[in-house]
Amino acid sequence: MQNKRILSITLTSWGGITLLVLGSLLFIGLRWGADGFEIFIREWIFTHLPTTLASVAITWLLIGWLLYLLYASKISVSNIITWIGFFLVAFLYLNVLRERFRYGDISYYIKAATRLFNNQPLPNSYFYFPLWATLLEFLVPLGEDRILLVTWIFNVISVFAFYFLLHRVLERYGFSPRLAALVTTGFMLVNTPILRTLMYVQVNLHVMNAIFLSLLLYRRFPFVSALMLALAVQLKSSPAVLVIAFLLERDWRWLFWFVLGNILIASITLIADGVTPFLDVMNNIFWLAGQRTAVFHDNSFDSFFSFPSEIFAVSSSLVQSLVYVSKVLLVIAVLFIIYRLVRTKAFLSGEERGMKLFNTIVPLFILMTMASPIVWVHHGIFLTLAFVLLLKKINMPGQWIWFGVAYLLEFIIPTFDFYPWSYGRLIAPLIILGLMWNLPEKPSELFIKANTWAENLLGQKIQEKYAK
């Protein structure tokens, strides 16, 4: 009872301070106009003022939320690790983003949106379906700084959502809630692809969240699931590869919804800008597929094989052949693994609907990422499940070492450009594919123990329900 009273006072104080801050802003605005803010709020060196104030405001809102959760007794022994992990991740990234004062890639999006706004064709540097540019087009009147701010805030919200969605997906795959929380937290704290996604204001987190939602909602809300995957595809074309996993389910209703979802989402662009943006994107993608320039942190087969041709007398047709052969081999390997996974149900066993989907989608993430003509560091996010779900399966010390090496190369090592050593992110998913080659049907003993250990972490004993 005393706790409740203290928390009530604290939450009220938080609300009071929030109102005071808002009141002070209003007072400054009314008393001095826009000039007043320059007196009371300053921008210093290495600071981007809008994102600084946004990160402070979100941090403040988070603490209010925490107080509310405590007050409403929503944090309990059963979910405390989930919440600790979330707030740790959130506070880390908010502080990190506050210290970032220049953002890359977003300029390409803004340029594309501005072109659409001015009824001009999409620039040849824009390689996605036009949805994202169409959505940003509505923000063009606000100016570049505000577009950055809005997309920045959406990315922050997305990283928060990613935490909970990944957590839920892992639970769906048999991780206990606490182990899922620990794994998600550890995964997100040190993660070069996530860091780069946020610092380049990339769309990856939105795409990945839509894919996660598609998986999570598949059984209960197939229409929403299909709509989510359609959204992911319209945001970044590569998730189209994942449809194979849904096709294997032969769920024609879902496929119908997916087609309808795509048409609905695409119609936003059609209504706003007509068919031209789609044609521009097609042109850009064909143009990109024909390009062979070696950028050493682009971890695609295309980039890897291009550099020797730039230095030595290697013909471009040989390079092209090597790229095609590599990608064909990749497709064959993935299809073969899919075939095995359908039979063994190694990642998720059971007889319910969706088992083929949940098992086959895992290697498809690797195909989706590696088959692309450009593989930037931040694309590593798409490999999340392919890596993390292997934790259920690997048992032998040798497998752990291989997994550790791949994990280090994909998620931990900072980005750099040094041929051929910086192509670790090309090798890492292939190692993971190799580890998937011959997976046992049952989870590893260590995983079962870890699940039980995690559930007993705070003293609560559980049944051996995760040993299944």
Binding site: Q2, N3, I6, L7, T10, V21, S24, I39, F40, I41, R42, E43, W44, I45, F46, T52, L53, S55, V56, T59, I63, L88, F91, L92, L94, N95, V96, R98, E99, R100, R102, G104, L189, V190, T192, L195, R196, M199, V295, F296, H297, I311, P397, G398, I401, G404, V405, L408, I412, I413, P414, T415, F416, D417, F418, Y419, W421, L457, L458, G459
Partner: protein
């Protein structure tokens, strides 16, 4: 066996990378590196390569620890926390393109190397500039990357030293590791120290070493404390804690060390750097520019004075009164903490260990300038209170203070950005209020942490 093989492969790969560098050099000279190594967007190339190399080396250290079976259930959490913290910061540092403050150090060091004097905007004793002056032959870029690397080592060392210090104060090894890890992961002052390449971590490491070595190696403890004072004058306040011990041997060592370390700049540049230091300190104490994120008493009062057009005397008198009140409060808290052995119970060093938390607050807030990154000096004061928090009210107050000091990103909005002035004062108040309390939660947490990776609880 597998770990040994992995370590061997790691070694071979390392040799391959080194030999590829050598081959490039032999093949095309320096121009060859421009072919094989590119500079990506938003990249400071030396920093990017150094962070990659450090990450790779950490991978090797990890494999070595595994293969030599140095990681076990007793220290697994400590190592897990260390690698987590180290890898987080290495990635963050790689993405930082421009670093602030370090340019002042380099400018001071190079001016000292060339002219034998310190510039007017250098507010530290001359030791740091003297040490950095030796880097002058490397040029600004060489000096920069060397300081960057030492800051990284400072961060790694800080993890272990803070963890050990918490153990000294009664935290179990696992609880100390958990607390240190969480403390360091989301920490605005540490982040700012790193991205401004400030000297704070070296200073605090020396202070922590001074504490850790006090009982067994008093001479070394005195030496590290003397180095801390020569790196940044403010830790001189902490000597008060050692004085209270009446440990004459330690004091003699401290005085001797102080003279020996202090003689280093004199040997190379005479007394002039010290005269410059005194001049600069007097200048900064007489007043400085207005920044809403500068959380000193003076900073706050200057802001009020500027906004409300108050006379200068208001700032001066107000600052002096505030500092005097802080001093008296810190002394009273110290006295009470010594009497009640609030933080540390034991025969040797009890006065020192009980007075240190409040003195760290005095040291930080009595300074004429209190930047965000100075917050790391009050870290120990905050963390040790975890032993004493016993009621929802005390937890709430502590939570707010912790949030303002360590979690809230820095910003400049008068008067709301002065949370880092209020936070240590809340902690001082809690030290007074909770001095005779003992938390039931703390022993439980200690026990729980120890049983985390073991079958039986101690």
């Amino acid at each position: 066996m597998t770990a040994k093989r992995a370590l061997l492969i790691w070694g071979v790969l390392t040799l391959l990378v080194i030999s590829s560098l050598l081959s490039i050099w032999l093949w095309r000279g320096a121009a060859g590196f421009e072919i094989a190594i590119q500079r990506g967007p938003f990249t400071n190339l030396p920093v990017a390569l150094a962070s990659v190399a450090a990450t790779w080396l950490l991978g090797g250290i990890f494999l070595h620890l595994l293969s030599s079976k140095q990681i076990d259930s007793k220290n697994a959490l400590t190592w897990a926390g260390f690698f987590l913290v180290a890898l987080v910061y290495l990635n963050l540092m790689r993405e930082r393109v421009e670093y602030g403050d370090v340019e002042y150090y380099i400018a001071a060091a190079f001016k000292l190397a060339v002219e034998g004097v310190l510039p007017i905007d250098y507010y530290y004793p001359p030791l740091w500039a003297t040490l950095l002056a030796w880097l002058a032959p490397l040029g600004e870029d060489g000096a920069f990357i060397t300081i960057w690397f030492f800051n990284l080592l400072g961060l790694f060392a800080f993890y272990f030293l803070l963890s050990k210090t918490l153990e000294l104060y009664g935290f179990s090894a696992n609880l100390a590791a958990l607390v240190t890890t969480v403390f360091m992961l989301a920490n605005a002052p540490i982040l700012r120290t790193m991205v401004y390449m400030q000297i704070n971590l070296h200073v605090l490491n020396m202070v922590l070493l001074g504490l850790l070595l006090y009982q067994r190696y008093p001479a070394l403890s005195a030496m590290t404390t003397a180095i801390a004072v020569h790196l940044k004058a403010s830790p001189a306040v902490l000597v008060l804690a050692f004085l209270l011990e009446w440990n004459w041997r330690w004091l003699v060592w401290a005085a001797l060390s102080f003279l020996v370390v202090g003689a280093l700049p004199i040997v190379f540049y005479g007394f002039q750097p010290y005269l410059d230091f005194i001049r600069n300190t007097a200048l900064v104490a007489a007043g400085h520019g207005l920044n809403f994120r500068e959380n000193s008493f003076e900073g706050l009062l200057m802001a009020f004075s500027a906004v409300l057009s108050l006379p200068d005397a208001f700032v001066e008198i107000g600052t002096n009164i505030a500092r005097a009140v802080l001093f008296v409060a810190a002394i009273l808290v110290m006295r009470r903490n010594i009497q009640r052995e609030t933080f540390f119970t034991g025969a040797e060093g009890a006065r020192l260990f009980n007075t240190m938390p409040s003195l760290l607050i005095l040291m930080t807030l009595a300074s004429p300038i209190v930047w965000v990154h100075h917050g790391i000096f009050v870290g120990l004061s905050f963390l040790l209170l975890l032993k004493k928090l016993d009621s929802p009210a005390s937890w709430t107050l502590f939570g707010f203070a912790y949030f303002f000091e360590f979690l809230l990103p820095t910003f400049d909005f008068f008067p709301w950005s002065y949370g880092r002035l209020v936070a240590p004062l809340i902690i001082l108040w809690l030290m007074w209020k909770l001095s005779d309390k003992s938390s039931e939660l703390f022993p439980k947490a200690n026990c729980w942490a120890e049983s985390l990776l073991m079958e039986k609880t101690h």
